[in-house]
């Protein structure tokens, strides 16, 4: 293997060297060949036709001097081009260099015109072409031929492919557009040469645009088109629909294509007779046909993009431009809680459909909404982007009740009306019933953590008397309430009043008696003293007894009727009178009573009793207050 590889490599290198050597030889050989300076021009043209006159030189020349072309108007030229050609024919190799000077002329008037010779200097030697005649015919009898003859002209032009023979044009469906409005961009190739194919098609990057490519047929079909009076074979290379994403002047960058062009060399097979040449080339005899690659570039094109009017722009406008219609469907309007619903919105129409992303559907906040599934059914054709975009929402109502999906609103800019248009899809009312088995409660239990008394039941109803009363009846702050409130206050006031009077009454009497007690006692004692002197025993004892008892009664607030030794004893004890005084007072009282009612000498004891009584009243006065 290695050996064969090695041999192959060496052979390749050898072949390469051989080739280089041969080339060198050929070059030398060609130098030796004679210089030919020829002219190619049609013999007959129609008036008003454009045609080409090509001067060809097979060597490098200087100071080319073209003819004046009297009777014709020179549209362009002389344009110079060079081509070199190497041919292997049956092992023999020929190389040719070709310099050509091309004029594009227009025939103005009928008649026969002579074209003067052109001259060129090659290696110090001047060469001249022959003068020749061109007959200008009336009208354009062979215009068709002339168009078809582009081919022949191309052949005659040989490898000399100028910008006029092969170019790309970028065509816009409109020179200016609104932001978001679709523009169809077509790239066409114009050719007057034998196009074999394309390589390295470099599409421009459409900066500032959102683009959608239009599918082209596999087979590129050629058609004929006249540009500036010249007929070209035209093929559409690419068709793209663009949506400008910003306003201003946007530029579509050039497109580059490497075109493969079949050219005929100005080799030895050239006979100068177009028919003969054609015959050989067409039949494949001519091995002088060669594929040449030429890079062609289109010119950049600008588009003026107008901004959408700011005024009256609806709030929910999302940038949709074109013409649309909206349809909403809901698979069911009655559903149980926790069951899924399908809400489908179909947006169909022409325009930047695919840029519509965010439909502002207002689902009830209690619904669980999943991101919509978006599917497109959009086709981009020469007439624009049309189709529909479907948004499918999966929605799960979580709680029973009546809900509403309001009508979906969608705004777009209508290019026909040059105004914003609002469209609406139908709204829906959804009846959500309780899920099977009280799903609300189940949901609750799942949603809440610290439910403690779920398992237990409520307490039983109240069965006794209902204690009904009128609805809203309030007792507080009613007249009755304040009335009832006043009663105890009034009653209490009365009690206080009565009590005060009673107190005053009772307080005055006793106070009086209390205050008078000593005086009364003293007065009685005085009387008693008088009786003592007069010896009236009975009266004396009555007075003393009354003085003693009366004093106590007044002092102790005792009624006269209840007076007795026991009551006095009790009263004195309560008053906290000293034991000694009490006993003495009692003994004096006892003695008084005893002497008064007992038989015997009363007179003898009168003096002593009087003294004792007087003494005891004085002491009691101090002790009993």
């Amino acid at each position: 293997m290695d050996v064969t590889m090695m041999i192959m490599k060496i052979l390749k290198k050898l072949l390469f060297l051989l080739l280089a050597f041969l080339l060198f030889l050929v070059h030398k050989e060609s130098k030796g060949q004679g210089v030919s300076f020829t002219v190619n021009a049609p013999q007959q043209v129609g008036a008003g036709d454009q045609f080409r006159v090509v001067f060809s030189l097979n060597d490098a020349g200087t100071s080319f001097k073209g003819p004046s072309f009297k009777g014709f108007s020179v549209l362009s030229g002389p344009s110079q081009s060079t081509s070199s050609n190497i041919q292997f024919i049956n092992g023999a190799m020929t190389q040719s260099v070709n310099y050509s000077f091309t004029y594009i002329l227009q025939a103005d008037k009928e008649g026969t015109y002579q074209v003067e010779p052109a001259s060129i200097t090659v290696q110090g030697k001047q060469f001249r072409t022959n003068a020749f005649n061109i007959q200008v015919l009336k009208g354009s009898p062979n215009r068709q031929r002339q168009g078809g003859g582009g081919q022949s002209g191309g052949n005659q032009g040989g490898a000399n492919i100028s910008g006029n023979d092969l170019f790309i044009k970028t065509l816009l469906s409109k020179p200016e557009a609104y932001q978001g409005e679709q523009i169809t961009v077509t790239q066409k190739i114009y050719s007057r040469v034998a196009l074999m194919g394309f390589e390295n098609v470099k599409l421009p990057s459409f900066e500032g645009f959102w683009s959608s490519e239009v599918k082209m047929p596999e087979q590129v079909s050629l058609h004929k088109e006249t540009v500036n009076g010249t007929v070209y074979n035209v093929a559409e290379l690419k068709k793209t629909i663009l949506f400008p994403q910003k306003s201003g002047t946007l530029t579509i960058q050039p497109m580059t294509v490497t075109a493969v062009v079949q050219v005929r060399t100005q080799g030895r097979t050239t006979t100068g007779d177009p028919f003969f040449d054609n015959f050989f080339n067409g039949s494949g005899f001519g091995s002088s046909v060669q594929n040449v690659r030429k890079e062609i570039k289109s010119a950049p094109v600008s588009i003026r993009v107008k901004p959408l009017p700011e005024q009256s722009q609806p709030a929910g406008f999302g940038g949709a431009v074109g013409s649309f219609s909206l349809k909403a469907t809901l698979d069911k309007t009655e559903v149980k809680a926790n069951e899924a619903l399908n809400y489908k919105i179909t947006l169909s129409g022409t325009g930047n459909l695919e840029l519509v992303d965010d439909l502002k559907v207002e689902f009830p906040s209690d619904f669980e909404v999943y991101d919509p599934k978006i599917s497109n059914n959009i086709s981009a054709s020469a007439s624009g982007v049309t189709g529909n975009r479907i948004f499918e929402y999966l929605v799960i109502p979580r709680n029973p009740g009546d809900y509403e999906i309001p009508p979906l609103k969608f705004s777009y800019f209508d290019l026909g009306k040059k105004a914003y248009v609002d469209i609406q899809a139908a709204g829906f009312t959804i009846k959500v019933q309780k899920g099977a088995g009280g799903s609300t409660a189940a949901y609750t239990a799942a949603g809440k953590e610290d439910v403690k008394i779920l398992g237990s039941d409520i307490r039983y109803i109240k069965t006794g008397r209902p204690q009904l009363r009128p609805i809203g009846a309030m007792f507080y702050q009613t007249a009755l309430f304040w009335g009832l409130f006043v009663i105890p206050i009034v009653l209490f006031g009365l009690v206080i009043l009565i009590w005060n009077r009673h107190m005053r009454l009772r307080g005055d009497q006793s106070l009086m008696k209390n205050r008078k007690a000593t005086r009364v006692a003293k007065a009685r004692m005085k009387k008693a003293a008088a009786y003592l002197k007069s010896g009236e025993e009975e009266a004396f004892y009555v007075e003393v007894s009354q003085a003693l008892w009366g004093y106590l009664a007044d002092k102790l607030y005792l009624p006269q009727a209840t007076l007795s030794l026991e009551t006095v004893h009790e009263a004195l004890e309560k008053k906290g009178v000293g034991e000694a005084l009490r006993l003495r007072y009692e003994s004096v009282l006892q003695e008084c009573e005893f002497i008064r009612f007992a038989p015997g000498d009363k007179a003898g004891k009168m003096e002593g009793l009087y003294q004792q009584s007087l003494e005891i009243v004085m002491t009691a006065e101090k002790e009993i207050s």
Partner: protein, 251 residues
């Protein structure tokens, strides 16, 4: 005043025979409840209410019937009404708790300071009327005891009567405060139950305004304000917003 008092007596007297019939209605509804015919029971209690009669027992039983029908918002509404008439009733509080455990919204109640809580708990022993009666009784008691203190000469009795009257006077003071507070609460603090399965609370009384939060059926809200068809409500957690009045039923 005398006229008003007279009118009151007349109304009371006139309503007496109706009360008799209503008592029978109540017993009949209870019987329906016993037989598990909730709808009939609900209709029976409803008849009582439409007769212009109410009581804690009626609302409580009505709440029970709704609960048995698995209509939690109605149950809660009636329990709340019952509780308003009889705040201290343990049965009502228990059933209300059971019913509240079945609603969707779980709202974290803002904790109150302990003395405020105690104060409110004590206040909820009676209604405004209960406290009004309590204040009347305590006032009468106070006067009685004070009279006793004045009249009775026995020192022990007098001393006891004095302290008792003093205590009763304090109780009277609290009763007055409680009754006035409860009265104001009944008049001013209006509450409502959410009846829509789900309702969004808005930032302003406008259908197009922002949704603040969601409430679900059975949740109790406090009514702070109303404007046209809208109530400004607050939930126990302290958040507030506007709700369409159609979504609520006032307790």
């Amino acid at each position: 005043m005398r006229k008003i008092f007279f009118n009151f007596i007349v109304i009371l007297a006139l309503s007496m025979p109706v009360v008799k019939g209503n008592d029978a209605l109540f017993q009949q509804a209870n019987e329906d409840y016993k037989n598990k015919s909730w709808d009939k029971a609900i209709a029976g209690y409803g008849k009582l209410l439409s007769n212009g009669q109410e009581s804690a027992a009626v609302f409580f039983n009505l709440g029970n019937a709704w609960f048995k029908k698995n209509d939690i918002p109605n149950a809660i509404l009636n329990y709340e009404k019952a509780r308003k008439l009889s705040p201290g009733d343990a049965d009502i509080q228990f059933n209300l708790k059971v019913a509240n455990a079945r609603i969707v919204d779980k709202i974290d109640v803002l904790p109150e300071l302990f003395y405020k809580r105690w104060w409110n708990e004590i206040r909820s022993f009676f209604t405004a009327d209960g406290w009004a009666i309590a204040s009347l009784i305590t006032l009468s008691l106070f006067f009685g005891l004070f009279t006793l203190y004045l009249v009775i000469r026995a020192a022990m009795v007098r001393r006891l009567a004095f302290f008792a009257s003093f205590l009763v006077l304090i109780v009277f003071g609290f009763s007055m405060v409680f009754s006035s507070q409860s009265y104001k609460l009944v008049l001013n603090q209006r509450e409502a139950i959410v009846f829509d399965p789900a309702v969004s609370v808005k930032s302003s009384p406008d259908e197009a305004s922002t949704d603040l939060f969601m409430l679900h059926e059975g949740t109790k809200v406090k009514i702070l304000d109303n404007l046209g068809d809208w109530y400004r409500v607050a939930i126990a957690s302290g958040s507030d917003g506007w709700v369409s009045s159609q979504s609520l039923k006032v307790i």
